[in-house]
Amino acid sequence: MKKVLIANRGEIALRVNRACHELGIPTVAVFSEADRESLHVKRADEAFCVGPGPSARSYLNIPNIISAALISGADAIHPGYGFLAENARFAEICRDHGITFIGPSPEAIRAMGDKATAKRVMVDAHVPVTPGTGIVESIEEARAFAQSAGYPVLIKATAGGGGKGMRAVHAPEELEQSLNSASSEAQAAFGDGRVYLEKLILNPRHIEVQVLADAHGGILILGERDCSVQKPSHQKLIEEAPGPHLSSAFRSSLYEVARQAVKAVRYVNAGTLEFLGEGEHFYFMEMNTRIQVEHPVTEEIFDVDLVKEQLRIACGEPLSRGQQDLRVRGHAIEVRINAEDPANNFAPAAGTLTTVQLPGGPGIRVDTHVYQGAAVPPYYDSMLAKIIAHGADREEAIARMVRALRETTIEGVKTTVPFCIEILTDPEFIAGGAGIGYLPRFLAREARVEAAAAR
């Protein structure tokens, strides 16, 4: 690999730039007119403006990005996350131009990008997916499914949408009536009364498994991350590794399934399998065929550099270590510092950062592209920085994160810093293992407290 073009912006562009420079590989940045003063431009060895502010005309502008790679002599492109990272066509175009796409094959991206295909592939590989039926033809069939999957179950209309023809069923005696009423409602709403059943997972946890696979059949399963603290929009806000309170039986089953899945897809490079976890069970949701925002927590507990591994794999090198060399080291937590207002439904903010003071000291890693005086353009996602805290155990990691967030001073836009301190000092979060219902519940509780205070 002689030169890498980084087809991204923000902290992930810097993350990739760091990995390249540590390996002695020169880099090419691309940037929009709104990002001219961005750190990712300054830190790269070369830089090309590829379009105006809006992503569609710059960071998604495939011809300009490919042209920049060809002109600069870059023989590989790292797509980061978002933008073109899971665009199979882009990966193909790279291949057509003799440029190494640092990620999996276009075929793997395409297969995992289509949810139906991904689910079929995983079922074939004996990966558990949310149990469900085809069109229910009889009450007996429905009863048998509910019996085997366990209550509660969800009745959904084939033609459904907007909650019409949908019913949650919590006990056998409710099943028949719910089925009839759901079917009638669907018939009335869509002219199609057909329904099917799915297992209803009430308050699942978001558990994902980081994998690395090389072109020689080497596979590393790098444990799980718990990303259950999600905004109502399902965007992750706080992630941690390992997942708290998981049994060793759960873990070994999860890792074995992840290994099967990677083999089934003949996956090469870094990827993440996302699951819904409930008690001792887990169900495949989707596979992300790229590096993820929250990859640092895995890096911290396994002492591995995932982006460097991506580069090595893309060069055709084998993985730098074997599964038996991996050992979990303590606990790591990541908090996303976003330019948004949690009190106003996480509305994103743009502006100029008048003060930026970031935390440091033992166990604290900061990944950011912002600096004092930097502009936050309105075009892109609102993440300003990731703070990663590592500790000997979860308790120490949380204590470090709280003190690190208290050290963080970002002025000029509203940020998620104070809100995240509230979460990290909340007994339910501290107890660990809360599901994806936790944050919406926390918000509702806070709203009640405020309403009570206002009375």
Binding site: E33, S67, A68, S72
Partner: protein, 148 residues
């Protein structure tokens, strides 16, 4: 760096603004400096990268070359794709009068020729790029004094 079609007293503005700015810019680590006054907009760019290295392409050269008497608005033709610049034949020459729609050059990108055409006709005041030079999005290529 889009077209600039207000009438300006170039010489006066150079005296008042550009000289000290260039000095300050030279002394700084800035790569780009923008000024947006009521009667005058200016952007100074330092291309510290190995490719496309036209130092202070936008401001410095016009400052030296546009005659003091010039009072015509200036259209800047910029690249709208990333690629390699080539001049078209017959070669455009500074000082020449160029007419609307004339192809002054093209940017070759992924094997495709993207022509650079004159918008409003006038006097070709500036050529900011050289033959075979890589250009990125928005990079100024030609300056046309409209109506000159």
């Amino acid at each position: 760096m889009q077209s600039e079609d207000r009438e300006i007293d170039v010489h006066g503005e150079i005296e008042r603004l550009v000289r000290p700015l260039l000095q300050a810019f030279d002394d700084s680590d800035l790569t780009r400096l923008s000024v947006d006054e009521e009667e005058f907009g200016l952007e100074i760019v330092r291309r510290s990268r190995p490719i496309g290295a036209v130092e202070r392409a936008v401001a410095a050269e016009p400052a030296q070359q546009i005659p003091a008497a010039a009072r015509h608005p200036m259209d800047v033709l910029a690249a709208d794709v990333v690629g390699i610049f080539h001049g078209s034949r017959p070669e455009a020459v500074v000082g020449q009068t160029v007419t609307e729609s004339r192809e002054l050059g093209y940017v070759e990108a992924l094997g495709i020729r993207n022509p650079v055409r004159v918008g409003r006709g006038g006097r070709l005041a500036e050529i900011f790029v050289s033959e075979g030079e890589p250009v990125d999005y928005g990079q100024p290529l030609f300056g046309i004094e409209v109506g000159a």
